[in-house]
Amino acid sequence: MAEAGANIIVRLDGVEKHFGAVRALDGVDFAVHAGECVGLVGHNGAGKSTLMHVLAGTLTPDSGAIAIGGASQSGYSVVLAQGLGIRCVFQELSLCPNLTVAENARINHAALKGLGWRRRAGDLILARLDEIFPGHGIGAGDIVRDLSIGKRQMVEVARAFTVTDDPLRLVILDEPTSSLDSHTAGQLLSFVRRVVAGGASCVLISHLLGEVLENSDRIVVMRDGKVVAADTAAAFDRDKLVTAMGAAGKHARAGAERASERHSAAPVRIRARPERQLDDAELVAHEGEVIGLAGLSGHGQTELLLQIFKGASRRTDRIEVTAPVALIAGDRQADGIFPLWSIAENIGIRSIARLRDGILISRAREDELAATWREKINIRTPDIRNNILSLSGGNQQKALFARALGSDARIVLMDDPMRGVDIGTKREVYELIRAEAQSGRTFLWYTTETDELENCDHVYVFRNGRIVADLGRGELTEEKVIQSSFQAAG
């Protein structure tokens, strides 16, 4: 680093954090100096948010050292972080919706108590709001749930910059402009520059690369839980950032090349336009196609899948679906499996109509269906009547695939179904999807793993709830996907 001797506010050395088999942080070294703004960029799951939670004290790393202001910290916690002047604006809003703006300011300041605390808290937050977002139109007595999402984000940001007893040394901003319009985003970023000029520091996490390039002194790029590049902002440009975020070396094109021409002759199965789409771009899926939905997570892919799922039973003017639909949930534990049921019951639930014998479910037919699919996709279990939880995570996911593929559905919607699944199972499932597509099934596949898009015939990239790119198989590269997911300035 250029300013090697400068005053270091926070330093992480070899920090690791694992969630089960996932290495969210894999030996990260990271430092922030006084009076600088560090931009932090990376694709889905690169570890940015985990790193930020470690800095804020809300997650304890498995190993590695944290030093604040040169002093090594053991037993680092939220309270300690606040006392040392480290604040955080989390990506998911952390205001209490049932409280007023002033009361929300109070939550972060133990010093705001005693007589007249409401007035002092109100004055404190309004002063910051006035400073950062002149003309914001927010009152101290407004209840947060009555505010628009943009105003809530303004309150949240302003709150992070309020000062009572504790010093203010570092503010971490995770996607602070995601709900702001360009005018208020500009107000915020120029305020960040003023704060940094005043000697405090900021970490700016954003998917708007222009925003990061223009406002950071230094940029750190993460990929797969590691820091892969770090340099002054001037040393980067858009293309360099995109390259650094993408694979270090190109992945070899895996899998057999499939016929790359669109199945445009085949009948259209789905036609859907996202709710927030401004132009007339729409998602079209023909019979036998595997369509990928890409982009950063939470940019409207899941919403569209759910709307398509609903559209199958009730047609709307935006969504047209011409065949029965099955959905494979991404959050297996919450939306996928029935934890008290057996594997066979979990597979059969989507096909109850076919498994009926009079008014009862025929156990024999349920077993038969489950046994066929155990054979076909190799669900590893001694007995199909065992509880679903006796399976490993990957095999549970296979059971969910069996539920969808064993049904009469001609369209299968997949909501990032490979989360936390081992590579062997993934290969088997890719194979299965390919085979099923050839036999005329249509797949809509939302995935946060860019590698998986190589199994798709066609990829739509989403940003802010809209389709922003429409890539055929020939045009598909990781750079292009990242390029479209990360917006240019503004």
Partner: protein
């Protein structure tokens, strides 16, 4: 919804800066109470008098106290299904030990508040559903009450009898008591700085713990307050009825929940209103027997009619809040 300037809003700080719909929602509990009062006045004008209110609202004091107790628990996104039998248990202690051996009686009541605090800790630490824990506890309180007083009887302490039969000039005692209860709870939960943390723990617990507050402490505080108000409710009830019965408080569980909801509270999200809850309790107390008796509805049908009134008021509220969203 743009906020329209409201005449007189500057004079009433609670209502300041509210959108008309929020105002309507905040006033709905008072509106439903007024409707019931108008109904009573129309059916029996003589009931609207000092003596009439003293009689009709007699039981409103313990109901209001139990409702406030329930409100503290609901603020933290929990539900207390044991408050009714707890009130009954407290009643039995009041009519026996507190009368015969005041010090020991007071100690038992303090220990029972401690039990409430421990329940809060248990629910938080073991992540147990409060409905299950408090349902279990309701049988414990009921059993203890029956052990203590197998047959109706006992006698309220004299000082309690005197307090509850206090006749202030001009304004009937139950109304003064209701105002005091509402103001105390409002200041405690809505105006103090820690009250904001307590409500925040119902609105967004993760945010509260990220800001460095202990969720265990907020939960224990809520349950302790519920225990305190439950004890007050049981004592007030015995001060009115003069003797106790192990089943005397059983109806209070559902009455208190209904009172909180009627008063503008919600089961989750930390949205509660102490003033509304007290008004809700008064509404329930009036709608229970006085109104229905004046309407010449036979006692057999009163419980059902009471439920119908509750459903109508809640439906009106749901309608208003849906348009608000």
């Amino acid at each position: 919804m743009a906020s329209l300037p409201l005449a007189g809003s500057a004079r009433l700080p609670i209502l300041a800066g509210m959108t008309p719909r929020r105002l309507l929602r905040a006033l709905l509990p008072a509106l439903s109470l007024s409707l019931i009062l108008i109904g009573i006045a129309w059916l029996n004008p003589r009931a609207i008098s000092y003596f009439g209110f003293t009689l009709m609202l007699n039981l409103a004091i313990p109901i209001a106290l139990a409702t406030i107790a329930q409100m503290f628990v609901i603020t933290g996104n929990d539900l207390d299904l044991s408050i009714g039998t707890f009130v009954g248990f407290v009643g039995c202690v009041t009519a026996t030990w507190l009368h015969d051996a005041p010090l020991f009686g007071a100690l038992v009541l303090l220990v029972s508040i401690g039990a409430y605090a421990a329940l809060g800790a248990l629910i938080h630490v073991r992540k147990l559903p409060s409905i299950v824990v408090t349902l279990g506890m309701s049988f414990v309180w009921q059993g203890l009450a029956i052990l203590l007083l197998p047959k109706p009887g006992g006698k309220a302490p004299d000082w309690l009898l005197q307090l509850m039969s206090f006749k202030p000039p001009w304004v009937p005692f139950p109304i003064i008591a209701a105002v005091v209860i509402a103001v105390v709870a409002h200041i405690g939960l809505m105006r103090t700085s820690y009250g904001a943390i307590l409500r925040g723990s119902g609105g967004n617990p993760i945010a509260i713990s990220r800001a460095g507050w202990s969720l265990l402490k907020t939960k224990v505080t809520m349950f302790t307050l519920a225990g305190i108000f439950g004890v007050l409710s049981g004592m007030a009830l015995i001060g009115i009825t003069t003797s106790a019965d192990a089943n005397i408080g059983n109806g209070y569980t559902l009455l208190s929940i209904a009172g909180v909801i009627l008063g503008g509270g919600e089961f989750v999200g930390g949205r509660v209103s102490p003033i509304g809850a007290v008004i809700g309790a008064l509404t329930l107390a009036l709608a229970a027997s006085p109104l229905l008796t004046f309407m010449h509805i036979p006692p057999d049908w009163q419980v059902g009619a009471n439920g119908a009134i509750l459903i109508i008021v809640l439906a009106a509220r749901a309608l208003i809040s849906r348009r608000e969203g």
